[in-house]
């Protein structure tokens, strides 16, 4: 399996505090990976680096078959290259309808002039309807997304992520605030997505991680502490000490 993203020797510090310390990580083009770690382990900073929000002090972030560096690219260009991100709190455009939110995310030319001249067409409308069906929001398309419940917003955001057709999905605590049934649905969507693309899930909830049934990377103090199956890492002595033992 080819490597889609390779992060090597990345460090970043904020006011002297090393948030990420010589971290290396890689993921294949169709793989699911869970990242766990205590608060302050650098999970969010790690995502910030990949998506271009934070520039690391040192290290490399290499992307795709052509091995381009993501470090010199803007957030928007990284997103266009195929990195999609879901935030911890659901962030959707609350003043706009579910339909408009999905349409906005649909993989299309992002150039201002192209967008200005964009005309809604049948294939795109159909795509939006398919996505809405997938995330269970078919009957909510005309509603303003600000009116949706917390769980529905989470799904809408997952739907927007899928609409972008990214090659790598970065998902921050997707199941937070969801009911057990909603969690199950979310798991199914993510597992399905990981058949064709790379999915990185940051999660606190061990039960959720277990259900994802994938390789797990444990972060601690900005570095990788252990990596492997969930059973493998949970039996690791270091991991027990810093994370599970508390």
């Amino acid at each position: 399996m080819s490597t889609l993203l390779e992060v090597s020797g990345v460090s970043v510090s904020f006011d002297g505090f090393k948030a990420i310390n010589n971290l290396s990580f890689q993921i294949g083009s169709a793989e699911m990976r869970a990242i766990i770690g205590p608060n302050g382990a650098g999970k969010t900073t790690f995502m910030d680096i990949i998506t271009g929000k934070t520039k690391p002090d040192e290290g490399r972030v290499i992307w795709g078959e052509k091995s381009v560096s993501l470090l010199k690219m803007s957030e928007a260009r990284i997103a266009r290259a195929g990195v999609g991100r879901k935030f911890q709190r659901p962030t959707v455009f609350e003043d706009q309808s579910v339909f408009d939110n999905l349409l906005l995310a649909l993989r299309k030319d992002r150039n201002p002039f192209a967008v200005l001249l964009y005309k809604r067409n049948a294939p795109d409308t159909e795509k939006v309807h398919d996505l809405a069906a997938q995330i269970g929001l078919s009957d909510q398309l005309e509603r303003k997304s600000g009116e949706l419940s917390h769980g529905q917003k989470q799904w809408l955001e997952i739907g927007m992520l899928l609409a972008q057709e990214p090659r790598l999905l970065l998902v921050d605590e997707p199941a937070a605030g969801m009911t057990p049934e909603e969690r199950e649905h979310t798991t199914a969507i993510l597992v399905e997505a990981a058949r064709t693309r790379a999915v990185v899930v940051v999660e606190h909830d061990m039960e959720f991680v277990r259900r994802l049934n994938c390789r797990v990377t444990v972060l601690h103090e900005g570095a990788v502490l252990a990596e492997g199956s969930l059973d493998h890492v949970t039996s690791n002595k270091h991991v027990i000490d810093v994370y599970l033992g508390r």
């Binding site: 957030e75 964009y118 927007m160």
Partner: protein, 410 residues
Amino acid sequence: MTRSLFARNPSVLVFLACLGLFTLGVTALSEALGTGMISTSFVKTLGKTLSLSLIALAMDLVWGYTGILSLGHFAFFGLGGYMIGMWLMYERTRDIVVTSMANADIPPTPQEITDAIGNQIFGVVGGSDFPLIWAFSHSLALQLILVVAVPGLLALVFGWLAFRSRVTGVYLSILTQAMTLALALYLFQNDSGLRGNNGLSGLQNLPGLDDVPQSVVSLWFFWASALALGLGYLFAAWVVSGKFGSVLRGIRDDEARVRFLGYSVEGYKLFIFTVTAVISGIAGALYYPQAGIINPAEIAPIASIYLAVWVAIGGRGRLYGAVIGAAFVSLVSTWFTGGQVPSIPLGFYTIDWVDWWQVVLGLSFVLVTLFAPKGIGGLFDYFTGRKPPNRHGKDLGPGSGSLKEQEAEA
């Protein structure tokens, strides 16, 4: 789902119909073509009001829809006015000079004519040579191009520098204020080439049309302003109703999210900033021939702040709100400052509205912001039953320009 612009926005048709009726009504009551109930000077006031509504529309695009509180759009308005003013002044002065020299015994050479025009125009600032920026002033076509090109280019360069550095919120507002202040101070200088604080005057006279009375000219400009406002409104409605408008509102409410969707936020901001600057320039080019005079005081920072006040009072984030706000406030302002409102004697003090109008305006701005964030446009919601969402006091996004709960539609 591919319904026409009008089907999606019935308010556009209503607005255009109202504007059309208003234009016809004023024409029918004008001195030139109608009963004469509306004086020529009031036709000019109405025409100016329409131009101000056009720039308010631009302000609404940039602030109400994109969340960029620009406090510098009157600079573009003024530049548009200066660009058309240069041609008007040059041509008019040339007409006068040529006529007066025609009686001379020896026909004047072109150089003599140019020198005489220069003397006429720049005598007040102690000069007679044409500065370089007047190079195109002999040509209406070129100056008309400059009406859109100069504000557009300034906005492009300024916006590129500001947005690229990710300056947002209050800092961007301050930066735009600094831009307009710098421009005004520059124009105040006598050697800026635009006659310093004298500005350009006599703009109400169209060169070569001396025998057309002002009552007719005023109607021409009134029609032109109405047409420009109508087209501007159509354009703005088209821009905000599609996917582009979706991106703009996304930037207003949550800029970072738009970026992570792959849209280059800076590019979109630059686009809308430049386009609205061009619209402002056109509005200015229509306004100042009706006002008759333009000087650097017009570009003073306070003018751009007024613009934001109009849009806020009218209701930002809805196009008709901006137009109504600008029209209402500027007309009421004309009324109050025109000395037509009777003073209120309180015995110990007399409230003179010419002085106190500013206080009323400031107060109403504060009150509208606090108690009726939807502005005058919100009255339409009241009649059509449009309700704001119940978000328990939460705004619609984390952006500094994002819509407030009461401003939005459920």
